[in-house]
């Protein structure tokens, strides 16, 4: 195994994230890892004792998606990964990832975040792949997992060839990035080792920006029919259930005054969908994806009621 960086890790740091990002940066001190910091706070930030090979991009204030895009643009290693401030890479992760990436290769490898329960699910998916399940079955399984519990380690070359990016100026841009990986890339692998620890939840979560969430879902639904996986009905139904589940899930926490706006926006998205996708909402097509988790089936039911009304 070479000791050159095989993995660039992009970390966007805004105001008030310096302390959390410091912990993340400490976990990236490894010869196989090239940390890339995109500092985009209003206050100027600086890095003391940066790890060897650390690249620091000083930016003006901007959104996290724009900062991550700048970091991705500076990636030099063959594979790249993005982290949130406070997330840490396990010390044993670089070696494991390097082996997986150098010898397993592929367009992307999905890894679990510790504490999210995704590791066991990824192990099952890996076993199914090993037993002869194809890439479409793997993608279907990955769409069934919450996107917050898995993270894509992406081939830099493929990312650039496909113009993969975070949607600038939108919250929930990571939903777009990691799900677009599933849509765009033909050869995807999984690793069942939880190599990333999530950031400790020290502050209450910010209110969900549902307009941006729906905008991201809309962008993904516009992308999906253009990708090869759309041809698979089971995957199509799973993608639908996953994205509608996100859209429906946010509805519960909305003030009543905003619920109507949310529903109108979701209906707008629905009206513009490819009919081949939209018609799968009919109950008779549920049999296409018999393994759909109960929560996603319930989301389809709710979406059916909402969008028919």
């Amino acid at each position: 195994m070479s000791e050159r960086p095989v993995l660039s890790v992009v970390l966007a740091v805004a105001d008030h994230q310096a302390e959390a990002a410091s912990r993340t940066l400490a976990s990236l001190e490894h010869p196989l890892v090239q940390p890339i910091l995109a500092l985009h706070g209003r206050q100027p930030l600086r890095v003391e004792q940066p790890p060897p090979g650390c690249l620091t991009l000083q930016m003006g204030p901007c959104d996290a998606a724009t900062a991550r895009n700048r970091g991705l643009g500076a990636v030099r290693a063959a594979f790249c990964l993005w982290l949130r401030p406070g997330e840490t890479l396990s010390p044993i992760a670089p070696g494991v990832l390097a082996r997986a990436l150098e010898q397993g290769g592929g367009d992307a490898i999905f890894v679990p975040l510790a504490g999210t329960g995704s590791a066991a699910a990824l192990r099952d998916l890996g076993d199914r792949l090993a037993a002869g399940g194809g890439q479409t079955a793997l993608a279907t399984g990955l769409w069934q997992l919450p996107y917050q519990g898995i993270r894509a380690v992406v081939s830099t070359e493929r990312m650039r060839a496909r113009h993969l990016h975070f949607p600038a100026g939108l919250d929930h841009s990571s939903l777009f990035f990691d799900r677009a990986v599933l849509m765009l890339f033909a050869r995807v692998g999984v690793l069942d080792m939880p190599v990333i620890a999530p950031a400790p939840a020290l502050a209450p979560a910010a209110p969900v920006n549902w307009r941006d969430l729906l905008s991201v879902i809309r962008a993904l639904l516009a992308l999906f029919p253009r990708t090869p996986g759309f041809a698979d009905p089971a995957l199509r139904l799973t993608v639908l259930a996953s994205l509608l589940g996100q859209a429906i899930g946010v509805r519960a926490g909305l003030p009543p005054a905003e619920t109507a706006s949310h529903d109108a926006a979701l209906r707008q998205i629905w009206r513009e969908q490819d009919p081949r996708l939209a018609r799968l909402l009919a109950p008779e097509f549920c049999a296409l994806a018999p393994d759909l988790p109960v929560a996603m089936q319930r989301a389809l039911d709710e979406a059916r009621a909402l969008l028919a009304g």
Partner: protein
């Protein structure tokens, strides 16, 4: 090689010289996988036989120096076979339609094969050179010479896939708290791996286990872990290890009176010399109140070298390089570096009349204005004497103008300025004002970034001083961003969306929408035909959003009048039928490229 035995180690030793081979064979005529090692030729070959006919051969070079005793790892998962050899990997997909239905057997000649172990990670290659302890999904390498012992091996076996405990441990909130002791100690080691800077202690049943665990921790780079033998004293609490690299807020830079001129440079080698000459002309070499910072935004031409060669010894000028990020990023980067009270942004292909910026700076100092603007003229090609004035610019007024620092000048209302022609480069700004108003160039835009800056500035400003005298000279040439018909035009739509989305609407719609319409009307005349439709769709959605916010202004009517393309009315009608609160699908060049790139995917 049955379903549970997927990883084999092969050696070509037994039959060296006679093309030893390895096969997955159903019968003599059906050989789903055939690997032949040609040591003498330095190659190995993969192919198969179906119905008695050999398929095409897939040739690969053996690693340099590869010998008969060197291992080849063979990993089969379903139809996928991976050959791991000398650090590289080759994949082969079994093609036989009914493979496995009748069963198969391994057939070899001249090959030694050894069953190793099932691999745990899909997508992982490599044979285990070192012994590994797997616990809670973590894979810990045991250093050479260390003996894990029976206890640790049993723990690894029992806790191999157990993650609940680990998950609970790594999610203990607070960055500085010590993690609670864990049982078994191997689990504690895995948990320590996830929290750099935290302390984890692990009481062990015997000294060998403690010694080995500490060696494994060190070998895997896990700090803060300590395994304790049974008779050890309880450890005294030690301060939590601080993270070595630290990201901190930098102190506010000291600010000296004067002007910093930021020149964003990207592949402008033909013009940068003329630009800098014009900026330096008439500047007193001993006067340190005006400095020039050239920000090389990852140029790939000789521009930066020319600047260094020609101006390297000039104390009034410095050049800094950064990875490419677009003009906005270069301007913001230069602003972060600036240490003077006032700032200006100049395009690397433009010129100024002698004394232009010192004059604006003098007026800014004299009047205390936040922004001072000079006149500008366009010129074509390389002849700045053939210039034509900017349309709709404020003109000298003998009644209203005042003599300030020897120049005719007067304050003009920001609202009276032409918003359609962003002219951020012919001004001097007080840096404190830009900071207080939080006005930056939008780095998500890789072109037309001055549009967002301009709109925010003019909305934050009551008035600026206009100086009549020396001019900024705006070069017109075929390579200008604004003359291209490509996806860069979507940057202007993207910035409009950002401003519409801003909480509270930092730029009033009444000022923003006319600019949006005017710029779009101009873009429609330039765009490549293939980009017109997504542009019109996106524009229609933005206009519909503006209409939803303020139906009384009849923005749709104004847009229909300005955008002559017949498809625009169609898209606008569709957009107006929706609630219009979502971001358009393709309002940024990146998204457009991604969507268009997919056309090749679905073929």
């Amino acid at each position: 090689m049955d379903a549970d035995q997927r990883l084999l180690q092969l050696r070509a030793g037994a039959g060296a010289g006679s093309a030893p081979f390895f096969e997955l064979r159903e019968d003599d005529a059906e050989r789903a996988f055939h690997l032949s090692i040609r040591l003498a030729a330095g190659r190995f070959v993969i192919n198969d036989m179906q119905g008695g006919h050999w398929g095409a051969e897939d040739w690969h070079d053996l690693p340099p120096g590869f010998g008969a005793e060197d291992p080849i790892l063979l990993d089969r998962r379903g139809r996928q076979v991976r050959i791991l050899i000398g650090g590289g990997a080759v994949e082969w997909m079994i093609r036989a339609p009914g493979f496995g239905a009748r069963g198969f057997h391994v057939h070899t000649e001249g090959i030694d094969q050894t069953w190793i172990a099932p691999r745990r990670h899909a997508g992982l290659g490599a044979g285990p050179r070192l012994e590994r302890l797997a616990v809670a999904g973590c894979d810990l390498a045991v250093p050479p010479g260390a003996d894990p012992g029976v206890v640790l091996r049993q723990q690894a076996l029992a806790w191999r896939h157990e993650q609940g405990w680990l998950d609970a441990l790594v999610l203990v909130p607070g960055p500085d708290a010590a993690l609670p002791p864990a049982d078994p100690p191997l689990m504690a080691l895995a948990a320590a791996g996830f929290r750099p800077g935290r302390r984890v202690t692990a009481p062990c049943p015997d000294a060998l286990t403690a010694q080995t665990l500490n060696a494994v921790a060190a070998f895997n780079g896990i700090d803060g872990f300590q395994a304790l033998p049974p008779d050890a004293e309880p450890p005294t609490p030690a301060p939590v290890l601080p993270a070595r690299p630290r990201i901190t807020t930098a102190p506010a830079p000291a600010e000296a009176p004067g002007l910093e001129v930021i020149v964003a440079l990207y592949n402008t080698e033909d013009h940068i010399g003329d630009c800098l000459d014009s900026l330096l002309a008439g500047l007193d070499p001993t006067d340190t109140s005006v400095g020039i910072t050239v920000v090389d935004d990852g140029s790939t031409d000789a521009g930066p070298e020319r600047v260094r060669a020609r101006y390297g010894g000039d104390p009034r000028l410095r050049i800094v390089s950064k990875p490419n990020g677009g003009c906005a990023s270069a301007r913001n980067f230069g602003r972060r570096l600036a240490r003077r009270s006032h700032i200006a942004f100049v395009d690397a292909d433009d010129l100024v009349d002698q004394g232009f910026f010192p004059a604006l700076l003098a007026v800014a100092r004299e009047t205390g204005a936040d922004v001072v603007q000079g006149g500008f003229a366009r010129f074509e090609g390389d002849d700045p004497t053939r210039r034509w004035p900017a349309p709709a610019d404020p003109q000298p007024d003998p009644v209203a103008d005042r003599l300030v620092c020897g120049l005719m000048a007067r304050p003009v209302s920001a609202g009276a300025l032409n918003r359609r022609q962003a002219a951020i480069w012919r001004r001097v700004y007080r840096r404190g004002f830009l900071d207080e108003q939080d006005i930056w160039f939008p780095e998500s835009a890789t072109a037309f970034d001055d549009l967002g800056f301009e709109q925010r500035l003019l909305s934050a400003l009551d008035r600026m001083w206009m100086v009549f005298g020396p001019q900024y000279l705006y070069r017109q040439h075929p390579q200008q961003d604004v003359r291209q018909g490509d996806a860069r035009h979507f940057n202007s739509l993207h910035q409009m969306r950002l401003m519409l989305d801003h909480p509270g609407g930092e730029v009033p719609d009444g000022e923003l929408v006319p600019v949006l319409i005017a710029n779009a009307a101009w873009s429609v005349t330039l765009l490549e035909p293939a980009l017109l439709d997504p542009f019109l769709v996106t524009l229609a959605e933005l206009i519909a959003r503006c209409h939803a916010r303020d139906p009384a202004r009849d923005w749709p009517g104004r847009a229909r009048s300005a955008i002559a393309h017949p498809d625009f009315a169609y898209h606008l009608d569709r957009a107006l039928a929706g609630p219009c609160i979502l971001a358009p699908v393709a309002d940024h060049p990146d998204r457009l490229r991604l969507l268009r790139g997919c056309e090749s995917l679905s073929r």
